[in-house]
């Protein structure tokens, strides 16, 4: 279990700035194809889930991906690179600003909208999902990490497979 080892700064502007920087680092790593670095954005025990908004509104937690530990994220990153067959593609995440919804002993609750575009080898770009990140961010050893990252997507009828993490 990761601990919050320093009290979080009460200055919301600073918190927002730090969380937004975390989000940018996170999406740039994915967009750059640095999938091996993806698990490093999470605490050891964590939740990463990509869930259709339609499911969640019905109280159903079923996800397109659902991982409960950093080890499972490592497995996903490895399997994607070594045990999956798919056409090459790149992602481009476009983020909104982040709103800080709560700061308490559990960490920082943050909400960020994201549009994720996918481009094929032939250069065709489509909007893969319109989604919202619902995150729980904690501080460990001076760095911010995701303890929970839920990607709640509106795009119920996905236009393509989800290969890389979102």
């Amino acid at each position: 279990m990761d601990q919050i080892d320093t009290p979080l700064d009460a200055d919301t502007h600073l918190i927002r700035h730090r969380v937004e920087q975390l989000q940018l680092d996170y999406v740039h790593a994915i967009d750059d194809g640095a999938i091996d670095s993806w698990p490093g954005f999470f605490t050891e025990r964590c939740l990463y889930a990509i869930i259709a908004r339609d499911n969640l509104e019905r109280g159903q937690e079923l996800g397109v991906m659902r991982f409960e530990s950093r080890a499972m994220l490592v497995d996903r990153a490895t399997a994607t690179q070594h045990a999956a067959v798919f056409a090459p593609r790149t992602l481009c995440h476009v983020l909104s600003g982040t709103s800080i919804e709560a700061v308490d002993e559990n960490g920082i609750r943050a909400r960020t909208n994201v549009a994720i575009y996918q481009t094929t080898a032939d250069g065709d770009t489509l909007l893969l999902v319109a989604a919202t990140y619902r995150d729980l961010v904690v501080e460990a050893d001076g760095a911010l990490l995701f303890k929970e990252k839920r990607v709640i997507y509106d795009t119920l009828r996905l236009p393509d497979s989800v290969v890389n993490p979102l």
Binding site: I50, I51, A52, D54, N55, R58, Q60, E61, L62, G63, V64, M65, R66, F67, E68, S69, A71, M72, V74, D75, R76, T78, A79, H82, A83, A84, V85, F86, A87, L156, R157, L158, P159, D160, S161, V162, V163
Partner: protein, 420 residues
């Protein structure tokens, strides 16, 4: 039958058997239109949903059969009706939400024509006009202007419907073998929806169905399955057909694979790849047999999957010759304990749009469509593995199940068999 009549009376299959499937059937617009009429709106039972999706009177859920939109509705008497989601007046879509409760009446939002939950027309505003003027003619027969009502049969909580009066009863259509395996999963226990996934896959709908009748690919393409022994071509297995060869069931048992070092020459990219968190591939036995994977394909539109503890229906919705939607309904049982509920959520990582297994499938289907669409006239798929016919068997290195699909397909499409 109305509609396009491509090649009626003339066989587009070159051989008397189905070892060659002309690529035209995957891309020809007229053939596609004829498939909708003769197969989806013809004498077949199409998947509609699970009856637990509409528990209360007036509950509805919107879905598709072929390209037609339908509503599955819970009636007052506890039964289920299936009607087309289209007003009999001017053709407007009645319901836009995916699901909801209609109360006692289905009302069209456009001119407020109202129907019973069975689809009978009950009222229209200004039926008698205004101050003696306007209104409907006196001989307007409301009984002739109801919604299109489909024949419905539910089998242990699974709802099917057909547009055709001549479709045989579902138990007869499925046959003994199919019923036996259908009731392995749908065994009367009350069902519970775990969640949905939906995805557009840019391939012809038949390629989706064929893919689940193609164990050869599953033991080669899916390195994840091979690596963890979840599915291999050298495992103990069995597959069966119905009499008309359109339905199939295929089962394998994990842990029965051969010890021989060589695996048929399959190139495994990362033979030492292992999982650091093994929870994902540790299933719990839940049926009274040793089968760890059972895939049932029911002609024309649904696949029932039981891979470890992920149970799901995969519903195929055609979207033109070159595209289809796949709707996954992951389900469990009402009385699942909390451990099983967690397992079903966790193992869902294997399946769906990002699934460790099915991700490869969606990609391969699109590779197929892209490849065959550019093929010259007369080119065809070659299906000669394990003979030329379609008989039940126990060796997974086979294309018999796909050949069976095309026996049924050729028959229902009315393509006359070529003379030997």
């Amino acid at each position: 039958m109305d509609g396009p009549q491509p090649d009626k009376g003339r066989d587009i299959f070159a051989a008397t058997d189905t070892t060659r499937v002309p690529f035209r059937v995957y891309e020809d617009q007229d053939i596609y239109k004829a498939e909708l009429e003769r197969i989806f709106y013809g004498p077949t039972w199409n998947y509609v949903g699970l009856d637990c999706e509409v528990p209360k009177e007036g509950d509805f859920r919107r879905n598709f059969i072929g390209e037609r939109e339908i509503l599955m509705i819970r009636k007052k008497d506890g039964g289920i009706s299936v009607v087309e989601n289209r007003c009999a007046h001017r053709g407007a879509q009645l319901r836009q939400a995916l699901e909801g409760n209609a109360g006692e009446t289905l009302m069209c939002p456009y001119h407020q024509w109202c129907y019973t939950l069975d689809g009978d027309l009950t009222s229209m505003p200004f039926r008698r006009g205004f101050k003696g003027k306007g209104g409907f003619p006196k001989d307007f027969d409301m009984t002739k202007h109801g919604l299109t009502r489909l024949r419905v049969e539910a089998l242990n909580g699974v709802v099917f419907a057909t547009f055709d009066r001549t479709t045989p009863p579902i138990t007869e259509d499925f046959g003994k073998h199919m019923l036996k395996y259908f009731t392995r999963v749908f065994n009367g226990r009350k069902l519970r929806v775990v969640g949905y996934q939906r995805q557009i896959i840019d391939s012809n709908w038949k390629l989706q169905m064929e893919n689940l009748k193609d164990p050869y690919h599953a033991g080669i393409l899916h390195l994840f399955l091979i690596n963890f022994g979840l599915f291999r071509l050298d495992q103990k297995s069995a597959y069966y057909f119905d009499e008309r060869k359109g339905h199939t069931v295929l089962m394998t048992e994990r842990g029965t694979e051969s010890d021989e070092g060589d695996y048929g020459g399959v190139k495994v990219a990362a033979p030492d790849f292992t999982l650091t968190d093994h929870e994902l591939v540790q299933p719990r036995k839940e049926f009274g047999d040793d089968v760890t994977l059972a895939i049932q394909t029911l002609f024309p539109s649904v696949i029932v999957q039981a891979q470890s503890n992920t149970l799901a229906t995969r519903h195929i919705v055609p979207k033109g010759p070159g595209s289809h939607e796949l709707i996954w309904t992951f389900f469990g049982y009402e009385d699942d304990d909390s451990e099983m509920r967690t397992l079903r959520l966790r193992q869902a990582n294997l399946m769906g749009s990002a699934g460790y297994v099915t991700l490869d499938d969606a990609e391969a289907l699109e590779f197929s469509q892209l490849g065959l669409a550019a093929a010259p006239d007369g080119a065809a798929a070659v299906l000669e593995i394990d003979g030329k016919d379609a008989q039940s068997g126990d060796c997974l290195v086979t294309e018999a199940l796909i050949r069976g699909f095309y026996i049924r397909y050729r028959d229902i499409m009315g393509f006359e068999k070529a003379q030997p």
